[in-house]
Symmetry: C2
Subunit: 346 residues, 2 copies
Amino acid sequence: MVKPAPRRVTIVDVARHAQVSTTAVSKVLRNAYGASPAMRAKVQQAMTELGYRPHAAARGLRGQTYTIGVMLPELRNLFFADILDGITAQLGDTDYQVLLAPGCNGEKAEARVIDAMIDRSMDGLVLIAPVSARSRLNEVARTVPTVVVGRHGSSPAYDTVTDDDIAGAALVVDHLVSLGHRRIAHIEHHETDRVRLAEMPNAQRARGYRDAMIAHGLEDEIDIASTSYTHDGGHLGARQLLDRPRRPTAIFAGADVVALGALEAVAEAGLTVPGDISVASYDNSALASFGPISLTSVDQDGRQMGVDAARLLVDRITDRQRRTAQVTLSPTLVVRRTTAAVEAAQ
Amino acid sequence: MVKPAPRRVTIVDVARHAQVSTTAVSKVLRNAYGASPAMRAKVQQAMTELGYRPHAAARGLRGQTYTIGVMLPELRNLFFADILDGITAQLGDTDYQVLLAPGCNGEKAEARVIDAMIDRSMDGLVLIAPVSARSRLNEVARTVPTVVVGRHGSSPAYDTVTDDDIAGAALVVDHLVSLGHRRIAHIEHHETDRVRLAEMPNAQRARGYRDAMIAHGLEDEIDIASTSYTHDGGHLGARQLLDRPRRPTAIFAGADVVALGALEAVAEAGLTVPGDISVASYDNSALASFGPISLTSVDQDGRQMGVDAARLLVDRITDRQRRTAQVTLSPTLVVRRTTAAVEAAQ
DNA sequence: GTGAAAGCGCTAACAT
DNA sequence: ATGTTAGCGCTTTCAC
């Protein structure tokens, strides 16, 4: 139907056109030592004249591919988009190109996707909230420079960037307590695996909630609905909490999407927010700031997390022996219209 | 700090371990002709014993990389996530791995990203709502099998999958007219480029709006605010429309996110929806279905678009000479709570 | 400073 | 049916 494109311009074409060796072209390409300014100019001119573009895959067979792989568990979570913005912004000046591996929920899919990235010889990996076993992550990091985002705990093999989820949960509890609330409930993402209980953000948020409640002398008021970080999970969790004999006056949802489900359940129960019950959550995604919803939520500066992750990754590609670093960012609370003084509820 | 991973297992290791030639291993890998069942078994056993995984980049230097590249203009648009789901679902059974190129708004960034995918020798490309010139798309498609999603017009070089945006706009107008509305305004994404006026969905929706209004004898009521498909664009557009001497009784926003901005502007003007004014939009994203918003919106089966795109792409990889196909899907209208009979507004 | 030549892991002609 | 060999486009010794 259509004539195929002409053969690709290669390093050989450039070398011939510039009357030099392929080695010289390669050196110019990599800004490597051993090329005189005169040669550099000659080669560069030939490159532009021929419209040469290096073949990343072929380069990878010996050197680098200039490709960074980013794995995200879920495309629909807008917070991840912020992280990605930070990564691409930080990498914008460099020669690195970012490619994403989409939607890998579950350990098996995650393993497949990570393997796929390694098989495509990416120069570095950013794993966002991975669920794989720690040993597996260490193994991956030994194979290719890796930064893990959004998972607590340190490793000798990979750098980490996390938000201080315990502090974030405390911000919410402090805020609600200062509004006079005592019966503050939490909707968590159910977790059984022991390592994940220590490392996953959801578990840290639940722990932060507990700790903060205890710090305020409210240990008897601790009340947790254990569902999942989804819209339905929020709906279900809120229904459970609203059915309690002593209904909570405030609900702390572990994520914005959970809060949305909770808001629906509250409305269905004929209650108003924040009149009858306050709702706060975590992530401060675009949903939270949207006017009609206007959710009080913990902000995690995802963009900054992405910037840090990219910086750490490039550093590690440069020096694989450097000791691993753990970056922890402090969250802030954005108070909006879903939380109010408890008096209003009585 | 950490000992590097051992050298990768290659086809040579497998061949030696199975006491056969590398060719034999390659044949087994590709299910190619010329390998006896006995040899096949022997090689396969060696592969699993050694934990062999083919090096995609190296394969690509001669044959395929088994990688499909998907370009999306915007990660935050949830509709694109549906398309991606369809693509990955359809490709789930095959050996192809999907990689995404993130956020490339603007022709220049788009060109860079597409080049990057070609330089990484992807086997096929899915371009979602690209803004590049038609000639450029044709050139890309001559280089690598390509399917274009969400852009009207046919090409001899690439297959297309689109939603019938003209029909979708007509669904909205028909619905509003049936509710008694006559002063139905539209917020469009401003477009000047001639080709894009014919090919981009936003332009098609505006055209569908005009055509439908005319079909209903309402050509004198045609009223368009020309802003952009963003939250702010919706806000601005709605403010313009609300300031008209004869305020519209219904607004058809070109996208859900536009409708959200419009809803805010309507609320700020002290008007209610759908009491004072009806609002309908396009995309039926998760935002539209969210309870408190509950937006009447046109549903484009994004998932099906992804499935079709992936199918067409694999077909084209198999046979590059096949004639190009154009798949057009029919939208449906999902009526929710932001549209009501016009009597209520008077 | 420059270039010839070997090889990265794999596929595809071409023997046998 | 099986193996030998020559590349794919690039980087990297290692001579000069």
